[in-house]
């Protein structure tokens, strides 16, 4: 399956391009910055450390659609990067740690839905939140920082498969602008 994935036309075209991988990585960082940035605002509210003058439900309405949109962008670009070197990433320890942390983040979210969220009507407007909400929020911050660290380490431990020497790379930025080679 992994072998098939990294032989697909999409994976090959990203591998052979000078730009695709750096651009995918950049979009991935923009996406994860928005995911973590928006989640942190909600987690700090649940911990009672910021925005305590606003109801949690209003914060969720303001934030979570952007979190999910950014997450979709991050998952898409992550999947495309994975496809370029699927076998190496799949066997990379830090890739596996990152995937495990993402599962933990989902479980953590589910725990919130099943516990504190059920009684939210009672504590929504006030500055103090139930212990379950605080634990979930603290865990969320730790897990997402872990995702960022593991993700960064993947870049240092999994090397890109080298582009075959005979493959013609894309024209660089200068060629695109039609500037003469100096």
């Amino acid at each position: 399956m992994l072998e098939w994935l990294q032989r697909t036309a999409v994976a090959v075209s990203i591998r052979d391009s000078l730009y695709s991988f750096p651009v995918l990585e950049s979009i991935h960082v923009v996406g994860l910055a928005l995911v973590f940035g928006t989640i942190a605002i909600l987690d700090l509210r649940l911990l009672g450390l910021a925005s305590t003058d606003r109801p949690v439900s209003r914060l969720m309405a303001d934030l979570l659609k952007w979190t999910w949109a950014a997450f979709a962008l991050t998952a898409l670009t992550g999947g495309l990067m994975f496809s370029t070197n699927a076998i190496v990433y799949f066997h990379n320890t830090f890739f596996r740690i990152k995937m495990l942390l993402l599962v933990l983040a989902a479980v953590n979210m589910l725990v919130f839905e099943l516990t504190a969220r059920k009684t939210m009507a009672r504590w929504d407007g006030g500055p103090s939140t139930p212990p379950a909400a605080k634990v979930v929020a603290a865990l969320s911050l730790v897990i997402w920082v872990g995702v960022i660290v593991a993700g960064r380490v993947i870049g240092f431990t999994a090397t890109r498969t080298s582009v075959p020497a005979q493959a013609q790379p894309d024209p660089n930025f200068e060629d695109l602008l039609g500037l003469p080679e100096k």
């Binding site: 940035g37 660290v149 380490v153 930025f173």
Partner: protein
């Protein structure tokens, strides 16, 4: 600049980071990413407030008071970790087109953030009814958001400076 980068690479702090690069570089970069994430969250919220898409139950002043300190605080964290990265890998950073274009965009983004917070504090109530409703501030909000996205792109492109062709000074080394 090449000479300076080579000199910097020979100094003890740089040598220390180079010798411990297996953990030091990813650790510094991770803190750097957390910092830019906090900036993106804060900029997104202030910009959405200007566009009337979030925090509509709070004034622009209140929203900026909530996120402004996080924005400037994160900028200092980014400056500190960024400086460590320059010290740790001087040639990779300083001899790169992406790095200098990124610095220009960071200066622009920081200037907008600081002068916006100052102007808002000065004009307060009156602004809230006039300028804050205007389309030029809305345009500024959108442009600023893309300036920070540009900063992230260029930050990542430091590792791929060859995409700039002969604009990359690394090519001439």
């Amino acid at each position: 600049m090449n000479q300076f980068a080579l000199w910097l690479a020979s100094t003890p702090p740089s040598v220390f980071i180079q010798e411990h690069n297996a953990w030091a570089v990813p650790a510094i970069q991770s803190v750097h990413i957390v910092g830019i994430a906090l900036i993106m969250g804060s900029v997104l919220m202030i910009d959405l407030r200007i566009l009337g898409l979030a925090w509509t139950d709070r004034t622009l002043q209140q929203t900026t008071n909530r996120f402004g300190p996080w924005l400037t605080g994160s900028l200092w964290v980014l400056l500190a970790t960024g400086l460590l990265m320059v010290v740790g890998e001087p040639v990779r950073e300083l001899v790169s087109f992406s790095f200098w274009l990124k610095m220009a965009l960071v200066a622009l983004g920081a200037l907008v953030a600081v002068s916006f917070q100052r102007a808002l504090r000065r004009h307060d109530q009156q602004w809230e009814r006039t300028v804050a409703q205007g389309s030029s501030l809305k345009l500024l909000a959108v442009v600023t958001f893309f300036v920070w996205i540009g900063v992230i792109f260029l930050g990542r492109l430091i590792a791929y400076d060859h995409v700039w062709g002969s604009w990359s000074p690394a090519k001439r080394l």
